[in-house]
């Protein structure tokens, strides 16, 4: 009798697991947020290695993995001017650049733009307020990097050699941003993860850092001093130093935008570095 109950319970459990796994979306599957019509794509469960290398300000190097046990949804594109306009119309929100009466704002960034261009002159607070309104969130750096790499182990998310078909940068974008989703998407169907605009990510509860490089960054260059930078290096490596450069954190610029995320589970070990206080707390 006990055996029979055990077997029936086990069968019921297996059926539940089977139904649950059937219900999980497939990588690249789409969902549209009714609030702003942003199309999200499904990012499957997995993990992202994170950590700070050893340097002068960080004598103890650290490495850990952030695990995403149930996957998440991420915006297929950066948030556009049209979508941000809807948010402003509904809420009367005034961006930080507008409050500061800056010369340039998301409405007039200093180059021509249409509704399908990514919104720029965004501060991390502007991004958080938008996400709150849209019922979604801003990705953590780990979530962003995981979605950017799209399960690949190659040097770039598209292969081992640079390919201009995937990224807008200074040498092919001209004098400003380009409409979203004009380049090829990565393996999980996400556009413009490298280049076009820097995208705000949450690193600490009260601090954001941009990821992704932008249209204003060079594809790559070397100087006499050996300084080397490129849009992809910016996309995936530049904040792996602590404390982050204040220049890097500068808010409200003509290449600072964002994309949103919708979590379906709680990441394990989500903080970039659990023991370190945010620079704003120090």
């Amino acid at each position: 009798m006990i055996n029979k109950i055990f077997i029936l319970t086990l069968l019921a459990l297996l059926q539940t697991i089977s139904v649950s796994s059937n219900e999980l979306p497939r990588p690249g599957e789409k969902w549209t947020n009714p609030k702003d019509k942003m199309v999200f794509v499904w990012i499957p469960a997995g993990s992202q290695p994170m950590g700070f290398p050893k340097n002068e300000t960080n004598p103890e190097p650290s490495k850990h993995k952030v695990v995403f046990p149930s996957g998440f949804w991420i915006g297929r594109t950066e948030v556009t001017v049209k979508q941000f306009q809807k948010f402003v119309q509904e809420t009367g929100y005034v961006t930080e650049a507008e409050q500061a009466q800056a010369k340039y704002t998301w409405r007039s960034p200093g180059f021509s733009q249409t509704g399908s261009h990514p919104v720029v002159y965004m501060s991390s607070n502007d991004a958080l307020r938008y996400a709150q309104w849209a019922g979604v969130a801003i990705p953590t750096e780990a979530e962003w990097l995981y979605a950017c790499h799209a399960g690949t182990e190659t040097l770039y998310p598209w292969g081992d050699t640079w390919d201009d078909q995937y990224a807008w940068h200074r040498e092919n974008a001209g004098d400003g941003t380009r409409p979203v989703a004009r380049k090829k998407a990565n393996a999980w169907g996400v556009y413009d993860m490298v280049g076009n605009v820097w995208e705000w990510c949450v690193v600490f509860p009260n601090i954001g850092l941009p990821r992704g490089g932008s249209w204003s960054r060079c594809k790559g260059y070397k100087t006499r001093q050996g300084y080397y930078a490129e849009v992809f290096k910016d996309a995936v490596e530049a904040t792996l130093t602590f404390p982050p450069s204040p220049y890097f954190m500068a808010e409200g610029h003509d290449d600072r935008g964002f994309r949103c995320i919708l979590r379906t589970g709680t990441p394990i070990n989500p903080q970039h570095e659990m023991g370190i206080k945010s620079p704003r707390d120090q």
């Binding site: 092919n172 004098d175 060079c218 260059y221 006499r224 930078a229 910016d234 220049y247 500068a250």
Partner: protein
């Protein structure tokens, strides 16, 4: 070699089409100019260092023998003068035929190097916040707190004199 009327029209149409499409390609590709010759030329991301043999450093003046400076030969090109010993850090720009400018080559925000963007006719910082400066040194955009230093230039007999003081 004779052509029929039809062949002539076909060739003419193709040529006109090709010529008409050239400006589009030029606009898109200026920043990625092919560097087939040995001479390094600047683009919106890279700036070569001026040929040493063209440079004569005087007391508060700099003389560039342009006949020995292929990197500055074409209008639209720029070159760095980076002389640490003499504390000279300039970008020299050949803006148009016979016109040369000399400015500080470091952004006034984070002291990162600048590039000359021929298409936009301005200087752009290569760092994250990419401040933009006009050719008069004034800040056009970005967080740079003050203008670039501009050095007076004078051209005579293929020699460019730059006053440093």
């Amino acid at each position: 070699m004779k052509h029929t009327r039809r062949e002539f029209i076909q060739h003419s149409t193709m040529s006109v089409g090709l010529v008409a499409s050239l400006p589009l390609f030029q606009t898109a590709c200026t920043c990625m100019q092919a560097q087939k010759s040995d001479v390094q030329v600047s683009n919106c991301c890279n700036t070569p260092t001026l040929e040493k043999e063209s440079l004569y450093i005087g007391d508060k003046t700099l003389l560039i023998d342009l006949s020995k400076a292929p990197s500055l030969q074409q209008p639209g090109h720029a070159a760095f003068v980076a002389e640490d010993e003499n504390n000279i850090q300039l970008i020299v720009i050949h803006t148009r035929k016979g016109t040369y400018l000399a400015l500080s080559r470091f952004c006034t925000h984070g002291m990162q190097i600048l590039s000359f963007n021929q298409e936009q006719n301005h200087l752009q910082c290569n760092s994250f916040n990419h401040s933009v400066f006009g050719l008069d040194g004034q800040v056009l955009k970005g967080p740079a707190p003050k203008p670039l230093q501009v050095y007076p230039t004078q051209l005579a007999d293929q020699k460019l004199h730059i006053t440093l003081a």
